[in-house]
Amino acid sequence: MAYSDKVVDHYENPRNVGTLDKNAEDVGTGLVGAPACGDVMKLQLRISDDGIIEDAKFKTFGCGSAIASSSLVTEMVKGKSIEYAQGISNSTIAEELNLPPVKIHCSVLAEDAIKAAIADYQKKRASRLAAADASPKA
């Protein structure tokens, strides 16, 4: 596969590889894909109370373009709002990396990973708020 220079750069020097504490209240984790399909992405976002993505980390099992797509989205979302991150579409990722048609599904997976991570964070936050509401006021 002849990849664009951008894919090769993100693959060879992946940004923000790592792990955040998945049990932390302010961390949302998205795990998408399937080993049987040959790609799995884990994207983690640390989000402030006012909805700003303060940190992003990824780990990806997959081909070069899957790794590059996840590396790229960590760069795109860092410092941005939840709303902005939710608006990132796979076509933006695919265009940015100039992905060949056969690799478009990698960008779809990256979009899914953002949405899954935000959903996880929002679920945690909702149950935290509900718990706070339910607890008796001092």
């Binding site: 693959y11 049987a36 992405m41 884990k42 070069g64």
Partner: protein, 406 residues
């Protein structure tokens, strides 16, 4: 040591310089048409064609008259299968093959299904092997042909074709074998192996691309074929077309060198390099061998391993100093992992992480050591980036997760 290192010798091989040297005069000085019977240019070309036929026949223990030149093994496979099917179709319309054959065999069979033939695709065991008993049990009254490759291009499994051929002959069925990967690597004798038709390629044994041959048995039983290419009646009418004399001469020289490989130490050297690579890779955590253990059931130059949690295409990008291949879906247009590995029952997750090494005549110990070290270091790099490896290290059973197939 020059980079990148070529370790993809099942895909193709570098022409041996001696082959090129043998070919060159046939492009400039001895350029005649071997079919020109009435002048010196034609005679000289014909002499080159004849000599190559002897060299090739000598490699496989055949009579030179049993060699038919083709454009390569794809054509040889097609000609063997289509040629037998169409010639013997009144006798029967059933063909037996395996589910790990090369596409040149499988797709020829698929084409025959559209012409009303019935094909039985025998399953292989976890090492990639079929038995003579399986073949024998599948033979029916209307079976006209069995096609089983001598050795597999991905996993290097060597079939017991002597037994399979004997089972075919017991029941009067013609036996074809694709021996493309075997010649010059394991001894191959058409009489000992009970084969009637054998596909041969030059470029897999240090010869040029674009030339191959089909061995067609002439006696007990004499095999007849319906031609696929019509014209000037070359190759006794089985394969028309002006002889590609320089290519044929290259094939002949390659065959001569392939035979010498058994006596000049090449086979032992290549086997040693493969074993060295395997012993080094075995030191890596969670590396799985695909196909038979190195030994008599495996090609001496083949190694195929799954590097768990490291997707194959990503691995190939990481080790770009090495030319290898992968059974990962991401390296194929179909996005399906290798059908050969799947036929062995290799789990699809592991099939995605497979890497095939094909060692050759021109590889060195230094190159093998470099390759092993590079793979080991990149396995570590990719696993540090792999969410699957992280989960496993946390003690999570990957099968317990409900993955979203996409």
């Amino acid at each position: 040591m020059k980079l990148p290192i070529y370790l993809d010798n099942h895909a193709t091989t570098r022409c041996d310089p001696a082959v090129v040297e043998a070919m060159l005069p046939y492009l400039t000085e001895t350029f005649g048409n071997a079919g020109s019977r009435n002048h010196a240019f034609g005679w000289a070309a014909q002499a080159g064609v004849d000599q190559a036929r002897e060299q090739l026949a000598d490699l496989i223990g055949a009579d030179p008259k049993e060699i038919v030149y083709t454009s390569g093994a794809t054509e040889s496979d097609n000609l063997a299968i289509m040629g037998v099917a169409r010639f013997y179709k009144e006798k029967g319309r059933h063909i037996i093959t395996t589910n790990i054959e090369h596409k040149a065999v499988l797709d020829a069979c698929h084409a025959l299904e559209k012409e009303g033939f019935e094909i039985t695709y025998l399953p292989v065991d976890t090492l990639g092997l079929v038995t003579a008993e399986q073949v024998s049990a599948a033979i029916r009254e209307d079976t006209i042909l069995v096609s089983v490759m001598h050795s597999n291009n991905e996993i290097g499994a060597i079939q017991d074709i002597a037994a399979i051929g004997a089972a075919c002959h017991d029941k009067g069925v013609i036996f074809h074998s694709d021996a493309v990967q075997s010649l010059g690597k394991v001894p191959f004798d058409v009489a000992a192996l009970n084969v009637d038709l054998v596909s041969i390629s030059a470029h897999k044994m240090y010869g040029p691309k674009g030339i191959g041959a089909l061995y067609v048995r002439r006696g007990r039983p004499r095999i007849r074929l319906e031609p696929m290419i019509f014209g000037g009646g070359q190759e006794r009418g089985i394969r028309s077309g002006t002889h590609a004399v320089h290519q044929i001469v290259g094939l002949g020289k390659a065959a001569e060198l392939a035979k010498a490989a058994f006596t000049n130490g090449e086979i032992e050297r290549v086997t040693g390099l493969r074993d060295r690579l395997w012993s080094k890779l075995q030191a890596i955590d969670e590396v799985y061998l695909n196909g038979p253990v190195p030994g008599p059931q495996r090609l001496p130059n083949n190694l195929n391993v799954s590097l768990a949690y490291c997707e194959g295409e990503a691995m190939m990008m990481a080790i770009k100093d090495l030319a290898v291949s992968s059974g990962s879906a991401c390296t194929s247009a179909s996005l399906e992992p290798s059908y050969v590995l799947r036929a062995l029952g290799v789990e699809v997750e592991l099939a995605h992480t497979s890497i095939r090494f094909g060692i050759g005549r021109f590889n060195t110990t230094e190159e093998i050591d470099y390759a092993a070290d590079l793979v080991a270091s990149k396995v570590g790099w990719l696993r540090d980036m792999s969410p699957l490896y992280e989960l496993v290290k946390e003690g999570v059973d990957l099968k317990s997760i409900s993955w979203t197939a996409h």
